[in-house]
């Protein structure tokens, strides 16, 4: 049997986490097919076919798929499910919304958010905000799996030439309508895939003060993150939240500024390669995971940090 991966895209390009999910899916079974459900998304189909790990692209094109609606995707996927041993997608808001609906209709107990493929039926996944790792074995005949994208490398995107097969659309739901999406456009790297992330917490004290973070982010070409406290306080918008119920990031460098380090925040960043904490409270839990801790007032430290960075000319973009 083969693996069916559900692609996330915006009808123009593949979302980067799908490439990480492709890597994980290919570790389950090399006969990996990708289902692309969209409208006028031929460019996406082509780019997926060029991913060397992909053996076949199923392309379902219909105007009902202009916007992603879990109900419509589910009926589309169920048309093809019986030919596959595994159905997988990324464990971000796209996949978290979608996969349980598919799993329930197939009467499968889903395995969420895996960080390692141990065998085609056995996986490692974090529980309790990453404070424990569970090795789990699925005994269902078919498996529904979501993949934590930051735990797998992104697949190569060139050199492949998989067949693209056009397939028919499925039924459309009348009960859910897409209204709009407020996407915040930014020239910065994406939070989920950035090499450097700098995050601010409640210690910033206001949205205006986030400029101190932004200035350093500009210098380092970093993505901007935030603790839940900072988002709740309205300093910054929700898509920046890092943590158990926000995004999980694994950058080469994570700089936590004015963040105390609640369990829920640590869940989203403690796998980062190098962690820096800047906090005036020397007892803050964030220091327990930091490789480099600086006990200092962030309002003095951040401008100095920028100044020191400006003295260096070797920052990699």
């Amino acid at each position: 049997m083969s693996v069916l991966l559900i692609a996330e895209h915006n009808n123009k390009e593949v979302k980067s986490f799908t490439l990480n999910a492709i890597t994980a899916a290919s570790q389950i079974d090399q006969d990996l097919h990708v289902l692309l459900i969209g409208h006028n998304a031929d460019d996406v189909a082509k780019s997926l076919s060029e991913v060397p790990l992909v053996k076949k692209v199923l392309h379902m094109d219909n105007e009902i798929y202009e916007n992603y609606i879990a109900e419509n995707y589910t009926s589309a996927i169920l048309k093809h499910a019986d030919k596959y041993s595994h159905i997988v997608c990324s464990a971000n808001t796209f996949g978290k919304n979608l996969m349980p609906r598919i799993a329930a209709l197939l009467d499968i107990s889903q395995v969420s958010d895996i960080i390692k493929v141990i065998a085609p039926d056995t996986f490692l996944r974090p529980i309790y905000a990453g404070n424990a790792f569970a090795t789990v074995k699925s005994n269902d005949d078919k498996k529904c799996i979501t993949i934590r994208p930051t735990s797998f490398e992104a697949a190569e995107t060139t050199g492949g030439s998989a067949e693209i097969e056009k397939v028919d659309a499925a039924d459309k739901t009348e009960n859910t309508k897409f209204v709009n999406r407020e996407e915040i456009k930014s020239d910065r790297p994406e939070l989920g895939t950035a090499r450097i992330v700098i995050s601010g917490g409640r210690g910033l004290q206001s949205g205006e003060n986030f400029k101190l973070i932004t200035d350093v982010a500009d210098k380092l070409n970093a993505a901007i993150g935030a603790s839940r406290a900072a988002v709740d306080a309205g300093y910054i918008t929700n898509e920046h939240q890092v943590g158990q119920t926000g995004k999980v990031v694994v950058p080469d460098l994570y700089i936590a500024v004015g963040i105390s380090g609640a369990i829920q925040h640590l869940a989203g960043m403690k796998e980062s390669k190098v962690i820096v904490a800047i906090n005036k409270d020397g007892e803050a839990p964030i220091f327990s995971v930091a490789d480099y801790g600086l006990e200092a007032d962030l309002f003095e430290a951040l401008p100095q940090f920028l100044e020191e960075l400006n003295k260096l000319n070797t920052i990699q973009k």
């Binding site: 796209f94 978290k96 424990a132 709740d232 006990e295």
Partner: protein, 249 residues
């Protein structure tokens, strides 16, 4: 309009959990338990809708062991009208919980079902979507704003790219994000009053639902520990370390 709210009893979000030495799970004896945090938001939203005159009854339901009743009692203390406790002896997978909830929905006929988007113990994020699938109802997950309309809801969802708004016809399932609202605390008089509100107990085994586990937990272990870091004395030292030692800038 009738709203069913599903709540789960979990280890309190402030507790630093400990993994059992034999790898069979985490320590729950003598550990503080609470309502799963986004489930509190689900109850709060239902209560607000009722206070706005748009709902007539709120039923809080939980699936769990005897003590899970406390979670229902807390929901009653902040404004739910009555409770249902589905008794089980073991921890169920979201698939089984969703099948049990389907039975309760069929019995109670609510117009809306609310619950938290994710339980902070198993971090599965499945039950709401699975219930929606079983019922063939629309789903609005990760809700940070809900507007009740005539025969539909307009729901703002927190997604990776920012915010997305969808409209779902009722009956519908909504899973709630922590930013949906600010859950209230129960006042002492309301806690006393809640003790008189009815909680119906049902044995899960009487519902005719297959709750057998499909997933084997082979081992629960502590994640690898990070090696201890150092404190630096100045910003200058920090930058030098990042450049010359960690080589990340």
């Amino acid at each position: 309009m009738k709203i069913l709210v599903a709540v789960k009893r979990v280890i309190d979000y402030n507790v630093q959990i400990r993994v059992k030495e034999d790898g069979s799970g985490v320590v729950t004896d003598n550990v503080k338990m609470s309502t799963n945090p986004p489930d509190d938001n689900a109850i709060e939203e239902a209560v607000k809708i009722k206070e706005a005159g748009k709902a007539s009854e709120i039923i809080a339901v939980t699936v769990g062991e005897e003590k899970a009743q406390e979670t229902v009692r807390k929901a009653l203390a902040v404004g739910a009208d009555r409770g249902i406790h589905i008794k089980v002896d073991s921890v169920l997978e979201p698939l089984a919980v969703s099948k049990i909830l389907k039975k309760i929905v069929e019995k109670e006929n609510p117009d809306l079902v609310f619950m938290g988007k994710q339980a902070i113990d198993d971090d599965c994020n499945q039950t709401g979507q699975m219930l929606a699938a079983h019922l063939n109802w629309p789903q609005a997950t990760f809700a940070s704003k809900i507007e009740v309309k005539e025969n539909s809801l307009e729901v703002t969802r927190e997604v990776d790219e920012g915010l997305e708004t969808i409209e779902v016809n009722t009956p519908a399932i909504v899973t709630c994000d922590l930013r949906l609202n600010e859950p209230r605390y129960a006042s002492l008089p309301n806690i006393m009053k809640a003790k008189k509100k009815p909680i119906e107990q049902i044995n899960a085994s009487d519902l005719g639902v297959d709750t057998n586990p499909r997933i084997e937990h082979i081992k629960i272990e502590e994640p690898p520990k990070r090696k201890a870091g150092i404190k630096v004395a100045s910003v200058e030292e920090l930058v030098q370390k990042l450049k010359n030692e960690a080589k990340v800038i």
